[in-house]
Amino acid sequence: MIELTGVEKSFGDNHVLRGIDLTVERGTSLVVIGGSGTGKSVLLKCILGLIPPDRGVITVDGQDVATGDRDAFLARFGMLFQGSALFDSLPVWQNVAFRLLRGALRRPRGEAREIAIEKLRRVGLGAEVADRLPGELSGGMQKRVGLARAIAADPPIIFFDEPTAGLDPILARVINDLIREIVVDMKATAITITHDMGSVRAIADRVAMLHGGRLRWTGTRAEMDDTADPYVTQFIHGSATGPIETLR
């Protein structure tokens, strides 16, 4: 279970998170929605400990993010980054098996490669891409490799940061379905950040909306469709008029 209590984060005068209280139960897929610059990515990075919050407490299965064995803590996570964040100089299989080639989860090289190829197959890529460099792949294939890397060590918690950004609608649907399938199969706890309502409908058990650095609304996917909250309805309908200010 992931628990955030009173989490605040500012960058200079920019108050990005203003007292976030949030609980994500084990095995739940939570999708966080909200406009650009509302602090969604910062929230994820605070949970991972990449950015220390100014105030508040974050615990994962009871362990405070700020204390304890960092490697053991991070070994519980897999993350798909917005731009995939693959390492350009390493072939695809070494990107996927990165965690398995070093550190506490280290495996023999041959075994790590086999696992990488198995994970590539899991996300719909053949073994023929294993020795190619990330730069030789299309955006959609890179996303799949990023997904394979996120699940390579079978982590119990997976984060997805804008998993469909930059993809065409068909490919976005494929990636959304794949994420749902993987999260259900692995019984993983998942947090996804997205603007894409297709992702919300495909992936979410629960939805949370961030606005102005605060948690504006939380509920199930079904509750989201029925809510009268004007911020949520404006966002899910993509309306230019409503309480959410837009630049015109």
Binding site: L50, D71, L74, A75, A85, L86, D88, S89
Partner: protein
């Protein structure tokens, strides 16, 4: 006055941050794991791949130095000192400094741009989430490789620079080949060579460390990468020249 104070404080803050960065980098030397593959790849990139540019720079500089010394020496009938001055000039000063500056241009820029791009594209964050310390995985291998490779590059540069002087001296200026070599060998001392290699190691350390520092602290976007790269090259070049003065003072002050 206030502006001077502000600039001084900002400079001190940067020096402090750089000192902490240096300490963190060195501390990873004694904290396993080391990444031998990364160190090997960095040695290849920084050492082996820099040989052509180092060789060409040294060759032309050695040749030009021979011509200058001959022309200058002719003013007071001292043309015969060309072999000795080329050797001393290359080994004590021009070899390490020119190789250092070429490495600052070639290696510092490439390290800064690569790491800054990794930062912008969240690859550094990805490393952390994969339980890998970026200082250990990116910074230490590059700094270690540059510190080890530079003395070799400087040694090669010194030799090729002397060869450039020899080719011009014997081919254009009419020196006897055997006498040229003997004069070169007789005049050089172990102390000269040692100073050259030590300078190389220090310049390599500076070049890689500054590249990593600017990369790790770069701003966002293409502009951030560009600024990091430019800043790294300028800072490394200035620091190498400053370190050269201090090392020359330490080795040769009487």
């Amino acid at each position: 006055m206030r502006a001077i104070g502000r600039a001084t404080l900002a400079l001190l803050a940067v020096i402090g941050q750089l000192a902490i960065f240096t300490g963190q980098t060195l501390s990873h030397l004694v904290r396993p794991p080391l990444y031998p593959r990364e160190i090997g790849a960095a040695l290849f990139q920084i050492g082996w791949s820099s040989l052509p540019v180092v060789g060409l720079t040294a060759l032309f500089t050695g040749g030009a130095l021979a011509l200058q010394i001959y022309a200058g020496g002719a003013r007071f009938s001292a043309e015969a000192v060309v072999p000795q001055i080329v050797a001393i000039g290359m080994v004590r000063e021009l070899g390490p400094v020119l190789v250092g500056l070429m490495i600052a241009a070639r290696v510092t820029s490439s390290i800064a741009a690569e790491i800054a791009t990794m930062k912008v594209t969240e690859q550094i964050d990805a490393l952390v989430t994969l339980s890998t310390d970026p200082m250990k995985y990116l910074t230490l291998p590059r700094v270690l490789a540059a510190t080890l490779a530079m003395p070799v590059l400087v040694g090669v540069g010194d030799l090729i620079g002397i060869l450039g002087g020899y080719l011009v001296g014997t081919g254009r200026l009419g020196f006897n080949p055997t006498t040229y070599i003997r004069n070169t060998m007789d005049f050089l001392e172990f102390h000269d060579v040692l100073s050259s290699l030590v300078k190389g190691a220090v310049f390599g350390f500076i070049a890689a460390l500054i590249g990593c520092w600017y990369g790790m602290t770069s701003g966002r976007g293409a502009m951030g990468v560009g600024r990091a790269t430019k800043g790294a090259v300028v800072a490394a070049a200035v620091l190498i020249l400053a370190a050269n003065f201090l090392l020359t003072e330490a080795f040769f002050s009487t």
